[in-house]
Amino acid sequence: MKTSRRTLLKNSAAAAATLSLDWRYASAQAETVRIGVIFDHSGPFAAGGSVASSIGTQIAIDLCNERGGVAGKYKVVPVNADSQSKADAAINEVERLINQEKVDIIDGVYSSAHAVPLAAKVEQQKKILWITTAVATAVFKDKNLKYVFRAQIHSDQYGQAFAGFITENAKAKLGVEPTAVKVALIHEDGPYGVGVAAADEEYSKKAGLNIVMREGYSAAAPDLSALVTKLKRAAPDVISHVGYNPDITLFLRQARESGLRFKMLIGAGAGYSQLDKLRATFGKDIDNFCNIDPVPAQLLDPKKLAPGIGELTNIMVERYKAKANATDVPPHCSMGFNQTWILLNSVLPIAKEKYGGFDAESVRKAALDVDIAPGGTIQGYGVKFFPPGTQLSGQNERSTPVVMQNAGEHISVVYPTNIRTQEPVLPLPKSSVYSM
């Protein structure tokens, strides 16, 4: 059949239009959200919970993508970075993510020592820093940050929980008024340790507890025996210990060998949340120790949470165990998963659909719109960020920690009382090597 020039042109134009349509369609299908993800995959913080947080984050991203991506349309592409447990490495990696990888959103950050300088740097460049794990209140306090957000709890809340738990149980469990309870506050000397210890001190004083000692130390110190000797001299009933992993094991070992006795030791997350690792070293010695942290999602009763949240937790727990070959799922996994899930499912869809894109300005506006009621996240708390102009601008005003107590592989929530799953065991039973 002979084809006229006119027919050829018409057909060519139609084919081109069709191809063009297909290409545009394909382009829309392929639109992605690139997110910088930064954690410590090497160095001492890695085993202190950073890797667990990164696994939680990756599970959230995978799950989001399996469900079609952000708003069911836009696949998430993580650009991973290792901050190597060093603040300077964290800063360099974030520089790379922003300037070379051209990402507008950075998710992650385990250490408060990294979060403090990173918050200032990312704010200055008007990009988004979405903190999953670091807790120091100092990251936000009086900084009026506009591009940095944290749904995670902050260190002042550790102090509130510590003092509240002791005060509530002093008379009933220890048989004395709160004013007669002697507490010692020991901490690693980075922003995390200093921040939590300062909050412990402030709220302990408000509660009238008797603070007999407060001392910091370097997490890399080769010896803590002088600290242990001074604790023996001060003879506290309760010790609050804020530390990472190598220093916690060194302290507990030297405390046992030096005959330090106390009625309760309360950790503040980080190394104390890596229970399987502590148990491998100390076995039953750490039974009945308490730990303050955001709750690991699997400890919450799914019936008290919003519909679908329990199922989300089950998926996270199952995948974490498979990925990490672990029996315990530490709170850090929940922190990484929860914060990232909030970003991907409650912030980015609004940024795209209401504010027009995944750029920093749209994400910032969308974050300020977020309003999740308590029970709406896998860690139980709701989400509403303090707005600019307030003292903690960018921090979640609805986050809450819990006090947990462990016995073997069983972990219970013992405070706040309204959600506790078990009465606290206080003081330590006589069978404990640390009991008075």
Partner: protein, 284 residues
């Protein structure tokens, strides 16, 4: 006297024993080969991993495990000498420092790659010696005693044996000793093996007290280096005494002031001494 102060002093002495053993190997190598093994504490880390895997994973009895760790780290010392130190023996000191510094990062990264970032513990719990209100850790007591025995044994080896005499001679003048028929290469290898064996021995003692992880070397590296310089690099007796000076500053400073300040005091003491005696307290 304040019983807690006595306990702090005893703890300081016991810590000094561990630091002295670590400083001994580094000083020996520097004294003879004239190269600072910046990665010495990370070679100790390798020894701790050997102990962990042989004892925990393969169930080999601990004494045998320790002997195997000492032998394997002695061999590692020889390998390090042959592959890294020997090629830069006649280079500028900065190049030697960079080479051993590179080894430090290599060992830490390689350990992370092989074993992950987990903290591992051999799970041996030794009893505690209780005397009235004083508690003394057996693991620290053993470390102190072995450190002391190691120092004496090394001293006797250097004084009483032919190879020991050759090692001392080469430490005094490496050019002349060659002219007298001593095989320098062989002496370097023997010294590296002894330095490695001492690192292996230190690993045995540290594994009783510390978790092993790829960055455990960072906990001890700076302090050992400071001790060696304080005692006079290459001066084994100086390093031995400096270990106890520093450990007492840490222990008593920590007791009277606080743990953070005790390290500040130790490093301040070191800096001041470097102004007064730049070649170390015991430099002749």
């Amino acid at each position: 006297m304040d019983p807690y102060l006595i306990e702090a002093i005893i703890n300081g002495i016991l810590l000094g024993g561990v630091l002295a053993l670590l400083a001994l190997g580094l000083n020996l190598i520097f004294g003879v080969i004239d190269v600072v093994w910046i990665a010495y504490a990370d070679i100790v880390m390798c020894g701790m991993y050997v102990i962990y895997f042989l004892y925990v994973e393969y169930g080999i009895p601990l004494p045998l495990t320790c002997l195997m760790a000492i032998a394997s780290i002695a061999a590692l010392g020889v390998v390090v000498h042959l592959l890294i130190i020997a090629p830069v023996l006649n280079s500028a000191p900065i190049n030697q420092l960079l080479a051993t510094g590179g080894l430090l990062f290599f060992l830490q990264s390689f350990a992370t790659l092989l074993f992950g970032t987990d903290f591992r513990n051999i799970g041996v719990r030794l009893p505690v010696l209780e005397i009235a209100t004083l508690y003394i850790s057996f693991s620290r007591l053993i470390a102190f005693a072995v450190g002391l025995i190691g120092a004496v044994a090394l001293y006797l080896f250097l004084k009483r044996t032919y190879i020991g005499t050759a090692i001392r001679a080469i430490a005094q003048d490496r050019e002349i000793v060659g002219l007298m028929g001593v095989d320098q290469r062989r002496i370097y290898l023997v010294t590296s093996a002894i330095g490695g064996a001492l690192a292996g021995l230190a690993a045995c003692l540290l594994a009783l007290q510390y978790d092993v992880h790829p960055h455990i070397g960072n906990t001890f590296g700076p302090v050992i280096f400071m001790i060696c310089v304080l005692g006079g690099l290459g001066n084994m007796i100086g390093g031995f005494i400096a270990s106890f000076i520093i450990s007492q500053i840490i222990a008593i400073g920590g007791y009277y002031a606080n743990t953070e300040l005790s390290y500040v005091l130790a490093f301040t003491f070191f800096i001041v001494l470097m102004f007064v005696r730049p070649r170390g307290i015991f430099a002749r």
